[in-house]
Amino acid sequence: MTVLEIRNLSVFFSRYYNWFRKRTEACLNGLELSVGAGQLVAVIGSSGSGKSLLAHAVMGILPRNAGWSGQMLYKGELLTPQLQQRLRGRELALVPQSVSYLNPLMQVGKQVRMSGGGVRSRTELRSMFRRYGLESQVERMYPFQLSGGMMRRVLVSTATLGGAELIIADEPTSGLHAELAQETVMRFRELADEGSAVLLITHDLESVLPYADAIAVLYGGTSIEVAPAHYFSGDGTMLRHPYSRALWTALPRNEFTPPKGKPLVRPARSAAGCPYREYCESASEACRSGQIPVRRVNEGWVRCIDAT
């Protein structure tokens, strides 16, 4: 069952570009994505590419000067602000990326229990903390007193408390050493195996690869390819988009050649054409204009006119 389906999602900000004029800037542009129950889908994109905005858009907690267009479906139902409000903290859970997402002046336990518009019972919290190997005294600690590992477990635990059906994790492994990163991703795998749909947003392809069902590659503010995780193997020929292949070969265990060109963080000035065309060896005139259509290939899809 598809839990979340995102069609043609764009997120934009309005800001001043000089002293006098305001401009609307797109950060995400025509993004497509879906995740089913029991699935762990990793969204890979370079840092600062607006991946967090994807999470915030789904949760309905974008900043005030941001807007979005497109469609988001939750279990086939259109995600409206009202529906988002009803689901947040219950069926919809966000696992944030750092300690700054906890109120520094409030005890950890109190914050975690406050979820889904009500206060969860202390016993519920206890049993959940026990699951993640957190001692009961952690409840009464303040965020600044937690170690990195404890912090991560507390943040992950917030998602389990409500029995969420869609869990969105925003960079849950950033700043963690390899071992802790593995442990964290494994916890999300567990949650997926228990039936939740998990969307794991990260820039760290390597640590999610062993646990993910599918990988969505983000480039230039849009999703350029969604492929099963096992496509990322061998010399990467199963991958259709040149940028996905470049990402794969850039990993230390492969050839370790970084992708050509600088990572394109924001969509180009004109949204037309393929964002990767400047660095693509087989780019043609056709890559420069129009919306590149999505092609279904085997188990995934790609946004490239060369793909077969």
Binding site: S14, R15, Y16, W19, F20, K22, R64, N65, S69, L78
Partner: protein, 288 residues
């Protein structure tokens, strides 16, 4: 595809013919014009409006005397403009002296070594520990009032916050590469202070002056109002207002209303202009 959801509160202003910044610039220019107009009129007006003309005393505001006349028949508009001009000059001088003290203290604290830093920090605390107005009264009393007392009093009470800011700025600056390089090259502290630090500080000093001036002018009016500032023979807003107290119960409302409102207008206009200038000096604060 047609957007299903457009939630952009801020773009709503895009349709209007002026956005917030354009309005800010216009407000700043208008305020500057008010300031210059007051200064210009205050300096250019003939002193004849200040002569006593008992036949037209206590007249309410009219076309020939916009602010009315007082109990000696003096034109209140002239008195107000002259008073404001004096206040502006006293305020500017006091703010400038205050910034000078702050710069010296800040420089000494940042560049004079740890011992000096402690002493100046302590002096700063000392000056913050007595209420400003009490210090002002004490200093005015000691110097026997007058312009000198007010000037020194305001200069002495308004520097601490500014000095702290300068010190912090300098400590940061001292760690930059080019200053370190100079000191490796054997330049003296004085050379570094005047060639590298001072030019960098100038915009901060200007900002400080812009921030202190409104306080200075209000404090001048206050202390004069209390009878410890400028002398009763000078056309000062504080004097005008304290004299007006005697006529409050007789219904001569214009004696107090217009001069005070004019002072408010001046301070407010100055705030506007200073906000704009600060935005120009420190554009980092522009993106909002």
């Amino acid at each position: 595809m047609k957007p299903d959801n457009l939630a952009m509160p801020d773009t709503a202003s895009g349709g209007k013919w002026l956005n917030r910044r354009q309005r800010a610039v216009i407000a700043a220019i208008a305020s500057a014009m008010v300031l210059f107009a007051v200064l210009g009129f205050g300096l250019a007006l003939p002193g004849s409006g200040l002569d006593a003309r008992l036949e037209i005393r206590n007249q309410p505001p009219s076309l020939s005397h916009l602010f009315g006349t007082d109990w000696l028949g003096r034109d209140m508009l002239t008195r107000t403009l002259k008073g404001l001009t004096l206040s502006i000059f006293v305020g500017l001088a006091a703010a400038a002296s205050s910034v000078l003290i702050a710069a010296i203290m800040g420089l000494a604290a940042a560049m004079g070594g740890r011992y000096m830093d402690h002493i100046i920090g302590w002096i700063t605390d000392l000056f913050l520990s007595v209420p400003h107005l009490v210090t002002l009264i004490l200093i005015s009393f000691i110097l026997g009032g007058g312009v000198k007392g007010v000037l020194i009093g305001i200069a002495v009470t308004h520097w601490p916050a500014m000095a702290r800011m300068i010190r912090a700025e300098l400590l940061q600056l001292r760690e930059t590469d080019y200053v370190r390089l100079s000191s490796r090259l054997g330049r003296s502290r004085w050379w570094i202070a005047t060639r590298h630090l001072l030019p960098h500080l100038l915009p901060h000093l200007l900002t400080g002056m812009l921030l202190i001036f409104p306080h200075a002018i209000l404090h001048e009016a206050s202390i004069t109002f209390l009878g410890l500032g400028l002398s009763p023979h000078q056309p000062a807003i504080g004097i005008i207002l304290s004299e007006s107290m005697r006529y409050l119960s007789t219904g001569l409302w214009w004696l107090a209303f217009f001069p005070g409102a004019a002072l408010l207008l001046i301070v407010r206009s100055f705030d506007r202009v200073s906000e704009y200038i600060r935005l120009l000096i420190h554009p980092a604060s522009a993106q909002e």
